[in-house]
């Protein structure tokens, strides 16, 4: 025969915030017993709600989450001061190395023209710093420049793409977001980039960015964008010029 007074006492301590996690687990278990006194039945229902919440699971599997991490990523590097001189140097050196890497087409660089280990290390460091610029509280000019440089980076990894996507969705400056659209269009072969461009249609409210996204997705022939485009038409505040472009793009994509 259960001593329900002990349960009531435990319940009282629970409401005072004095129970441990283990005691709370025990309490929830006790309150699920079938022969519960009437005064504890409502308590049982009340304490039951987290059990259902705990059943919610990530729709992304461990493999899906690990996949982008397995890509070659730059080592993290913290830089506290961002001077214009460094940025210009980084941009120039990235472009030079990018040009060297890109000459002759991807994967067709002759052995003698391949970057040395030192160059690759420098490139990785600069990539890391670019991501830092996009993520940290840099000025608008710095962010704009970082996006521009990121657009031409020959070895964009998953982290840089995520930083660009985050910039596209959430940067407060329209010009930076526009530059992010352009930059991401260079990485259109990545499914996550295409998904992000579609997803951003639902976030952007500025007509310039909306138009850039619609043009880009239409150029890519991205049929998956159609439902999101149709959703945009339901927005009464959508500007006429954008509405026109949406209609045109839908007819081209369908």
């Amino acid at each position: 025969m259960r001593n329900w007074d002990n349960v009531r006492e435990l319940l009282e301590r629970y409401y005072e915030g004095e129970t441990t996690v283990a005691e709370e687990q025990q309490l929830r278990q006790l309150l699920q017993e079938p022969a519960l006194p009437p005064d504890l039945q409502a308590e049982a229902r009340l304490l039951h709600w987290p059990l259902a919440e705990r059943q919610i699971q990530s729709p992304l599997s461990a493999e899906a989450l690990m996949a982008p991490l397995a890509l070659p990523a730059a080592e993290p590097k913290v830089r506290l001061l961002w001077g214009w001189a460094w940025q210009v140097a980084a941009a120039v050196s990235l472009l030079v190395v990018g040009f060297a890497l890109g000459r002759g087409g991807a994967g067709a660089v002759p052995a003698e023209e391949q970057p040395t280990a030192t160059e690759l290390t420098a490139l990785r460091q600069e990539l890391s710093e670019l991501k830092g610029l996009l993520q940290a509280g840099a000025t608008t000019g710095q962010r704009l420049q970082a996006v521009t440089v990121a657009a031409t980076t020959p070895q964009a990894d998953a982290e840089l793409l995520m930083a660009l996507i985050h910039t596209l969705h959430f940067d407060e400056n329209v010009n930076v977001r526009l530059a992010a659209v352009e930059a991401l269009m260079n990485y259109q072969q990545h499914p996550q980039v295409r998904r992000a461009l579609i997803h951003s249609l639902g976030i952007q409210t500025d007509p310039n960015v909306q138009l850039a996204l619609i043009h880009g997705l239409t150029r890519l022939g991205e049929k998956e964008a159609v439902p999101q485009l149709q959703k945009m038409l339901q927005d009464e505040e959508l500007q006429q010029v954008v509405r026109q472009q949406v209609n045109e793009s839908i007819s081209l994509l369908i």
């Binding site: 461990a62 989450l65 982008p68 976030i203």
Partner: protein
């Protein structure tokens, strides 16, 4: 080595991290994005993680900060105004009328939305995620005594309102 460490210490927390993101953003697609971004951010910090006393608490705090960034962004705010409608009263039915059609858990979730945000957050961390007071302290930066007091208040308020609704709506 680092990959294996990450796989065994951070990845098992993915369901918890997703629930935290979903609770904060109230949108499954946004929560997925935040989880993916959180994992990448944690991967960047992987060397720091090895020095962390509680990796899960650090991971929860990281995802929470990313969610706060999203919530703060002007674009998200504008968007939430449209999509957030499902989380607010429609104005067509009174809370009591709505409660009649819901099960107990839905009633409790609705009542929770009426609590101060900090109390909701503490209930999520304690009741759903079953985190210790020390872990909650690490995530929220609140002192343990303050956590106990706020949690106690949240539990009591929720109980009081639930009993009231139960008796009105004959759910009890």
């Amino acid at each position: 080595m680092e990959l294996e460490y990450f796989r065994t210490t951070v990845l098992p927390a993915r369901n918890r991290l997703y629930r935290v993101a979903l609770w904060m953003l109230k949108d499954s697609a946004e929560a997925e994005d935040a989880l993916q971004e959180g994992m990448l951010r944690l991967w960047v910090y992987r060397q720091k993680l090895m020095l962390c006393s509680n990796v899960e608490a650090f991971a929860v705090r990281t995802v929470r900060n990313l969610c706060l960034d999203r919530l703060k962004s002007k674009q998200y705010k504008g968007r939430q105004g449209l999509e957030g409608l499902e989380y607010t009263d429609s104005g067509q039915a009174s809370p009591h009328q709505q409660a009649e059609q819901e099960d107990h858990e839905a009633v409790i979730r609705r009542l929770m939305l009426g609590l101060p945000e900090q109390q909701q957050w503490l209930l999520q961390l304690r009741e759903v995620e079953e985190l210790s007071y020390e872990e909650i302290e690490e995530i929220t930066g609140m002192q343990i005594n303050a956590i106990r007091v706020a949690l106690s208040r949240a539990r009591k308020t929720l109980r009081e309102q639930f009993l009231k609704v139960s008796s009105y709506e004959k759910l009890g």
